[in-house]
């Protein structure tokens, strides 16, 4: 099958309400959104604390987190696999090859991105913002919230970046999810599988969905950023 034939078949597949294809899309979005819901408050919170607190080992911790930005997702998957497998520390939880395991893996991949970007956003904020909040009598909690609101567009960029990284990652999902049809098969693992089987139509159709999702998220970000500058 040529590229044009495969693309034509992919478009037909997309508009045919194929249950298998849309189940895969559903698994992908469900896992990634759950992972983001967990990772966002934790990552942004840790980024804020790292930006504002001073403690021994802080510099080293920042270097480690920045280093983890480039960690291969397959290595995260391997570590998680070892922890969740029968002989692993958390083997009794029977989480391996479940969506929960995929969510945990994606949280671990998203966290360094969210922490590092939030840290940079808060460190880059105008120091007068914090000083003004403090001078006006705000509590520590209110000062923190104010700072997050002031750098909200930089935080939104962090969220978009983390979302883009985990929605398209394959290494971890494949290792701890197992690519089980209807359960843990998400868009990236399905594309890899269909391509290896020579079924390019399904691969291209899923690739289009993935691109639309990624473009949609980034367009929304660009829209909000534009609104803020009006």
């Amino acid at each position: 099958m040529g590229f044009l034939d495969a693309t034509y078949a992919a478009l037909r597949l997309l508009f045919s309400a194929d249950p298998e294809l849309w189940t895969i899309v559903g698994v992908s979005l469900s896992v990634t959104l759950r992972a983001m819901l967990i990772a966002m408050p934790v990552g942004v919170g840790c980024g804020y604390l790292l930006a504002t607190l001073r403690f021994p080992g802080r510099r080293a911790l920042i270097v480690v987190i920045q280093g983890l930005l480039a960690s291969p997702t397959v290595v995260v998957g391997l570590m998680l696999y070892l922890l969740l497998s029968r002989q692993g520390v958390f083997g009794q939880l029977n989480l391996l090859f479940t969506q929960t395991a995929m969510v945990i893996g994606q949280v671990l991949i998203a966290l360094p991105v969210l922490i590092a970007f939030s840290l940079a956003a808060i460190q880059g904020a105008d120091p007068r913002a914090r000083e003004t909040a403090v001078a006006l009598g705000a509590s520590a909690t209110r000062v923190g919230w104010t700072m997050l609101v002031e750098v909200r567009f930089a935080l939104l960029a962090a969220v978009c970046n983390a979302f883009g990284r985990i929605v398209s990652e394959i290494g971890c999902s494949l290792m701890v999810g197992g690519n089980i049809a209807g359960v843990t098969r998400n868009i990236p693992t399905a594309i890899a599988l269909e391509t290896s089987k020579g079924d390019f139509a399904q691969g291209i159709a899923l690739g289009i969905v993935l691109l639309v999702v990624a473009l949609g998220v980034n367009s929304a970000f660009a829209f909000f950023q534009g609104e803020s500058r009006r």
Partner: protein, 221 residues
């Protein structure tokens, strides 16, 4: 009557001694003009008095209550307000900026709206309510910042060069607002180089030289 006093206050940056003040005493309801060369420590002194920066050493008294900077007490933050040379406005709205300190103090919504409306009228900001704070001119920002401070009715107002970098009209508006702010209930310390500001009526002069403060005992009329 003495309202705010600091003793044995010192602050150094690296090897350079910036402040070495044996005693500084501010009386209730007085206005002070703080002068000194650039880099003489005027802003640093105001920031320390406001609890934004901490001195290397020093003890303070507010009325009869003693305080220090480890940490600067929350109750004192309710009494002392500091306004930057170039005020920072939050990326919300003019109204939300003015309401910020009231929210922080837990003032209930109805009372908050009433006070914010009064502050808007006081600073003549009515025509700017729909303008995003980041689009305001330097003079307009200064007026919003003064309204944001005024609405809290602080006992001590610390202004860091409020007329710096303003055009003539904005400068005069700011001077008028500062005059109106400094009533008998407010002790004001205004760091400045501005001749008109230095010449404000009924003010005392504080002059910083080599980290030491020279304090006039009588107001200039």
């Amino acid at each position: 009557m003495k309202l705010l006093a600091v003793t044995a206050l010192s602050k150094s940056f690296r090897e350079r001694r910036l402040l070495a003040i044996d005693e500084l005493s501010l009386s209730a309801g007085e206005r002070y003009v703080l002068t000194g060369e650039n880099g003489s420590g005027k802003s640093t002194l105001l920031r320390i008095l406001a609890g934004i920066d901490a001195p290397d050493s020093g003890v303070g008294h507010f009325g009869k209550r003693r305080f220090d900077w480890s940490p600067y007490p929350d109750w004192l933050r309710q009494e002392v307000i500091y306004v930057h040379q170039q005020p920072y406005l939050f990326h919300t709205s003019v109204v939300e900026n003015i309401a910020y300190g009231l929210r922080a103090r837990g003032v209930e919504a109805g009372e908050r709206e009433r006070l914010v409306a009064a502050a808007i009228a006081w600073a003549r900001l009515g025509h700017l309510l729909r303008t995003p704070p980041q689009k305001l001119s330097g003079g307009e920002r200064q007026r919003v910042a003064l309204a944001r401070a005024w609405v809290l009715a602080p006992k001590v107002l610390l202004l860091d060069e409020p007329t710096a970098n303003l055009d003539a009209e904005s400068r005069q508006q700011t001077i008028d607002l500062v005059q109106a702010f400094c009533g008998p209930e407010t002790t004001a310390v205004i760091a400045c180089h501005d001749r008109d500001m230095i010449a404000l009526a009924n003010r005392r002069r504080l002059h910083l030289v080599d980290g030491l403060i020279q304090q006039n005992s009588t107001p200039t009329l």
